[in-house]
């Protein structure tokens, strides 16, 4: 398992370092498509992270933790965005595991990504730990 962790960590460090530059190099067509879709969606999600409506979960997904922070007319659309984002995140973990030839690593990749997303969350965003939400 040590090898798994090392490789996953390398992937994630690399992904994390270049993600912000829009130049992720875990380069399979599927991962590129997922990355593009997630980056395009991020602009719509970001204000809702900032408002506290959305939070980053401990399992590498996002959750609508307080819909009250979203104007009523937008809550329906935000639910759809969350479902799409989680679909892409689940697929991303699966694809990275597959791309590395180890589908069984998916859970490790997910948990490492989860820590990484939470670690990189902006100040003021909500993150989940041990089932509890806290504000960074």
């Amino acid at each position: 398992m040590k090898t798994v962790h090392r490789i996953v960590l390398l992937c994630v460090m690399y992904a994390g370092a270049v993600w912000a530059q829009g130049n992720l190099e875990i380069n399979t067509p599927a991962i590129s498509q997922l990355r593009d879709a997630m980056q395009a969606r991020h602009a719509q999600l970001a204000p809702h992270y900032a408002s506290g409506a959305l939070g980053l979960t401990a399992d590498g997904r996002i959750a609508l933790r307080d819909a009250n922070a979203v104007p009523l007319a937008q809550r329906q659309a935000v639910q759809g965005l969350v479902a799409q984002e989680n679909g892409d995140r689940d697929a991303l973990y699966r694809e990275i595991a597959r791309a590395n030839g180890h589908p069984e690593w998916e859970a490790d990749i997910r948990s490492t990504f989860a820590q990484r997303w939470i670690g990189r969350a902006q100040s003021g965003w909500y993150v989940q730990s041990g089932g509890q939400w806290s504000r960074k």
């Binding site: 399979t28 599927a30 498509q33 997922l34 009250n68 699966r94």
Partner: protein, 661 residues
């Protein structure tokens, strides 16, 4: 005290000893008038003509609602010559205290009472308690909604807030009829919200007209609620703007609220009618029947059907036409339903499929089997047009079986032999078997917008299974095309409807007529037959990410020739490393060349195609081995080719030539 119709016998004039300030003390076991019942009533007053007084009731039942420990204290209370209370305070457990004043005058017993519910809200009750038409009128403006809803358990989690303007007339006696209350409740600035914010409303305005009469121990009447404006979110369904009206006859008993002649006019969609019974204490549904005819499917879909799918990230779809619906509900939820669609139209918003002139009869039962029937006059899957078909399906809680059906596709048809879904241990599984009748390639390629190809294509799918998100093929999928066939085996489609569909398969291609294939493209013409084997094919999002492919000229005796243009195309595919091993002078002289064998392989990994040919020659690999006169060989030297680059080159050399009609 004349309006008090029933007064328990235990009227006791007590001595002053029980309350030192009170000269008079009265005690009633119970008092009732119209919609008010009081229990254990005690009146303690300084005197009949003035002075302070205190009236208490341990319990009051007002219009079906129970109040505990009701207390009225008057600074100045008189019974004679006229009853009045000034400087009073009214309270009950959980309510008040509210400043109150009232007076009761003259032979008509004219009542005027003002209760200040808050600094802004005063409720005024006026009218005659006696005379030919005894009635009371209540006017209150801006009464808090939460006050009216009181302890209603169903409303508690939603923290309703709003202002209600009340105008009510209470006819106490009307030609032998029991007391009757008519009221108009106008809600403004209404809002509520569940803790998670997924059930909420804002700026609600609505008007409820209610006409209610006592009927033995029950109340019965009619109500009309007109939603006039505001926003409403219920899980994923979001409605705005109002325009919907609910009307019903009702009977409120000690245990239940029965609604009959229920009519719900949904703005722009149509009218639902029915009846319902709700548990009074919990507001839970006991039973309901709903039906509606000629409902507008477009708006019904946009407002109620599509949103739950969109909230789960499903792609949007569009519906048009009209529908009749009927449903029965019980405490466990939907018991049975029937949807009839006439002249419907369903399509994916992205244009991937559509069905037009759709007629459907879709009965459903929670605990039983039904048969559903659908006909569509025409449709489209991708760009391929579909002709009229009729579909019957047997539907039960744990299985759905579509009867064998032929769906016309272009000049042929798709014969669906088996399409069945079953729920096993809580998970749905599916099975499919189908045959595609030979379909004209010119028609198919035209419909798909592809370069025109000759011949026909047919296919046989013996058995496809759907288990745990994976479609897998048992046996071989045979596709007859270009005079030969392609056999697909070991096919698996993983999460075909997910965000990253993945395909695993092996392909075997035999005796494909290259003439038919290459005449279509600008590629150049090759006469001959081709075999191919692709193992370990893996597609992600429908694009290849890995395979081992090898194509070669078929064994056997058949004419073999290749045009100069095709030679150029093949060398262009190989990039600068490929050369035609023939003197340029000859290339210029001849239009067509003979060949003995063609062979090329590509092993795709990580976006790179590792190429090989028939044999090695001078550090390169032979793609075409010459034969006959004039003979020509093509040798490749670049063994590692970027897959994307190869696709781009292929796209360049296969650009469609103009199709001559």
């Amino acid at each position: 005290m004349r309006p008090l119709r029933r007064c328990a016998a235990a009227l006791i004039l007590l001595g002053a000893h029980s309350s030192p300030q009170a000269a008079i003390e009265l005690r009633f076991e119970s008092l009732s008038a119209a919609a008010v019942e009081l229990s254990d009533v005690r009146i303690a007053a300084a005197g009949l003509g003035g002075g302070s007084a205190r009236i208490t009731a341990s319990r009051a039942l007002v219009a079906g609602r129970t109040l505990q420990h009701v207390k009225l204290e008057c600074g100045d209370f008189a019974v004679l010559p006229e009853m009045h209370c000034r400087g009073g305070r009214l309270s009950a457990e959980g309510y008040g205290p509210w400043p109150v004043e009232f007076s009761l005058r003259g032979p008509q017993r004219a009542l005027r009472a003002d209760v200040r519910l808050s600094a802004e809200v005063t409720a005024t009750v006026s009218g005659d308690l006696a005379g030919s038409l005894p009635q009371l009128r209540l006017v209150a403006s801006g009464v808090p909604l939460e006050f009216l809803l009181g302890e209603l358990p169903a409303s508690k989690p939603y923290v309703p807030v709003g202002k209600i303007d009340v105008e009510a007339t209470w006819v106490l006696k009307e030609a032998e009829r029991p007391p009757r209350l008519r009221a108009t409740l106008a809600l403004r600035d209404g809002r509520f919200g569940s803790a998670d914010g997924l059930r909420a409303a804002d700026s609600l305005s609505a008007v409820m007209d209610i006409d209610v009469q006592r009927d033995g121990p029950d109340w019965r009447g009619t109500l009309v609620t007109d939603w006039r404006g505001g926003e409403l979110l219920w899980d994923s369904v979001y409605l705005t703007g109002g325009g919907s009206v609910l009307s019903a006859d009702f009977r409120l008993s000690a245990s239940a609220l029965e609604l009959t002649s229920l009519a719900l006019d949904l703005a722009g969609i149509g009218r639902l009618t029915g009846d319902a019974t709700l548990d009074r204490a919990s507001a839970a549904l006991r039973a309901a029947r709903v039906q509606g005819a000629e409902l507008d499917l477009k708006l019904l879909n946009e407002r109620f059907v599509q949103p739950p799918f969109a909230a789960r990230g499903w792609p949007p779809f569009v519906m048009q036409g009209y529908a009749d619906v009927a449903a029965r509900l019980d405490p466990a939820g939907l018991h049975s339903a029937r949807l009839i669609v006439r002249g419907g139209h369903v399509s994916d918003a992205a244009g991937r499929y559509s069905l037009q002139q759709l007629d459907a009869d879709l009965p459903w039962q929670r605990d039983g089997a039904t048969r559903m029937h659908v006909t569509a006059a025409e449709g489209r899957f991708g760009r391929v047009p579909v002709g009229r078909f009729a579909l019957d399906a047997d539907v039960a809680p744990d299985h759905v079986a579509v009867q064998p059906v032929r769906i016309p596709l272009l000049d042929a048809g798709l014969q669906l032999n088996l399409l069945r879904f079953e729920r096993v241990n809580g998970r749905w599984t599916g099975d499919l078997s189908a045959d595609l009748e030979p379909l004209s390639m010119p028609e198919l390629t035209q419909a798909l917008g592809w370069p025109r190809m000759a011949g026909s294509v047919g296919a046989s799918v013996p058995h496809v299974r759907w288990r745990d998100g994976v479609l897998s093929l048992d046996g071989q999928l045979m596709i007859q095309v270009f005079g030969g066939y392609i056999a697909v085996s070991g096919l698996q489609v993983i999460e075909p409807f997910g965000t990253t569909p993945r395909v695993l398969s092996d392909l075997q291609m035999r005796y494909v007529d290259l003439d038919a294939l290459t005449e279509t493209f600008k590629f150049g013409r090759i006469t001959g037959r081709l075999d191919g084997d692709v193992t370990g094919l893996e597609l992600s999002r429908w694009a290849p990410v890995a395979f081992d492919a090898r194509v070669r000229s078929s064994e056997g005796d058949y004419p073999r020739s290749i045009s100069q243009r095709a030679v150029d195309s093949i060398t262009a595919l190989g990039g600068s490393g490929a050369t035609a091993a023939i003197q340029r002078t000859f290339l210029g002289v001849f239009e067509r060349f003979g060949y003995r064998r063609i062979g090329v392989s590509c092993r795709l990994r990580n976006g790179v195609c590792e190429m090989d040919g028939l044999s090695n020659r001078n550090g390169g690999f032979v793609l075409i081995e010459g034969g006959g006169v004039p003979a020509l060989s093509v040798v490749g030297y670049n063994r590692r080719v970027d897959w994307q680059v190869l696709l781009e080159r292929l796209a360049r050399v296969t650009e469609t030539k103009p199709v001559l009609q």
